[in-house]
């Protein structure tokens, strides 16, 4: 049977089968790491492009306390921006969904705002808060998170079956209840897919903010300075730390999604 059939929902799989589902991923991981360590050097890929895995791990180990410290600083900035940007976006989406003509008129502009390369504003937030202040990174991360969450939440709050709303009207309940019982639960799948995007954007925002000058302890600065003095192993070790943090951040949001949307067919279907 080919893979297209997978889209159909399936019953929950037992643990044994679930573990077996990870086998292909682990095989790919093993092959990838092996190729990184042995194949790339054998093909003559230069150190400055991608040093062998063992050298990167060695560099990480030598600088571990410094790198983890830097990662933590950057992660805190990303998390702060994520919380700030996502919560503001959610509240604004509620307001716009409540006053629809207003929301409808503004929707195209919010979608267009999504298309603005906001990372380019990083030097400006540095000028606002001072290069060394974590707030310059928090704000840029927050702005990056803001628009996808706003647009997706608004779409989730408003893509409700008309009969759902009629049903609520037949119960003669106030708007507040319609939001709590129908619109907000309906929006959650949309909100979570935006939150997953936002978790990635927040990390990007924090690292880019660092790049334009931040405390030299932050991760973005570490990469740039390591590259400039040709310490490619250290640069890759820093990238490794950033990726691990990014994956962990994304993973936590995806896990929260699973908990919050346990009712949703997609979480039972075992896809993705």
């Amino acid at each position: 049977m080919n893979a297209y059939a997978q889209a159909a929902p399936r019953a929950e799989r037992p643990w044994g089968r679930r573990l077996r589902g990870w086998v292909p991923a682990l095989v790919v991981l093993g092959l990838g790491l092996a190729a990184w360590e042995w194949l790339l050097p054998a093909l003559g890929v230069e150190r400055y492009l991608l040093p062998p895995l063992s050298d990167v791990l060695q560099a990480f180990w030598d600088d571990r306390s410094e790198l983890l410290e830097a990662g933590w600083i950057t992660f805190k900035e990303a998390l702060g921006g994520f919380v700030l940007g996502c919560s503001l976006a959610f509240v604004l989406a509620l307001v716009l969904a409540r006053w629809r003509p207003f929301g409808n008129a503004l929707m195209p502009y919010m979608i267009a705002a999504n298309a603005v390369p906001i990372v380019a504003f990083a030097p400006i937030t540095n000028a606002w808060f001072g290069t060394l202040s974590p707030w310059s990174k928090i704000v840029i991360a927050a702005v990056l998170c803001f628009f996808p969450v706003l647009v997706n939440t608004l779409r989730g709050l408003t893509s409700v079956r008309p009969e759902s709303i009629e049903l609520m009207r037949s119960y003669a309940v106030p708007q507040r209840v319609v939001f709590r019982r129908v619109r907000i639960p309906n929006s959650l799948p949309f909100v979570f897919s935006a939150l997953k995007i936002a978790s990635v954007l927040a990390m990007i925002g924090a690292v880019v903010g660092d790049y334009f000058g931040g405390s030299t302890d932050a991760l973005g600065v570490k990469v740039v300075s390591a590259v400039s003095v040709a310490q490619y192993e250290t640069a890759w070790a820093a990238i490794l730390v950033a990726s691990m943090l990014g994956i962990a951040f994304y993973g936590v949001v995806a896990f929260a999604e699973r908990l919050a949307l346990s009712w949703h067919p997609s979480t039972r279907a075992g896809n993705e």
Binding site: S170, A172, W263
Partner: protein, 259 residues
Amino acid sequence: MSTSEAVVSARSISKTFGKGGVNALQDIDLEVGQGEFISLIGPSGCGKSTLLRVIGDLVEPSSGEILVNGKSAHRARLDRDYGIVFQAAVLYDWRTVAKNIALPLELMGYDRATRAGRVRELLHLMELDGFEKHYPWQLSGGMQQRVSIARALSFSPALLLMDEPFGALDEMTRERLNVELLRIWAELGSTVIFVTHSISEAVYLSTRVVVMSPRPGRITSVVPIDLPQPRTFETREDPRFFELVTQVREALHAGGAEL
């Protein structure tokens, strides 16, 4: 029948959508008495769903007067005088079957114990025992619609508004649910207003069939159904049943419906 005991009383109701737009309803007069089972039948665009929504105060009529239980339809909605069932089950995906049925009770402030008891009764009534912990997407279309009916019945409204509730179901499921609906109607003594586009369904279920025609939407005739109660599977084979089906079909033709 005097107005005071009518459950629904519509006086020259008209409804126009948009400026100079479509005449969805024109000069509708309708009296529905306590305990009646009324079907509204007609081709698409005849305004039968709109009339149902006017009764439920979900759509405001452009002119005319509508009373439900002797008060304005608006007041009746605020008093939660009716339960409604749509063609789609409109269940909330994030709630289990039991919690979907309990939703109106929650909104109306019933305590947990009352809700649990009532849900248990309804699950039994709709033959859904054992499915209370399922999510809607795990049920077949027919079962979803039964949950939706249980939800409408949960707070024991005396009036039930049904907008083509079985329209999306297969013939066999539909006939079984028809029988169940009649059983519940007899058991609870409620009044039902039922929109359908199936002639046999309308004749089988109703005490009166209201025939409507489109452009503008109006009532062209009312056919009283004198089949004996309670109705069973044999009713469908009764010669009188076929006569009435023919009568309704002719009324629809006379109203200009292309069948």
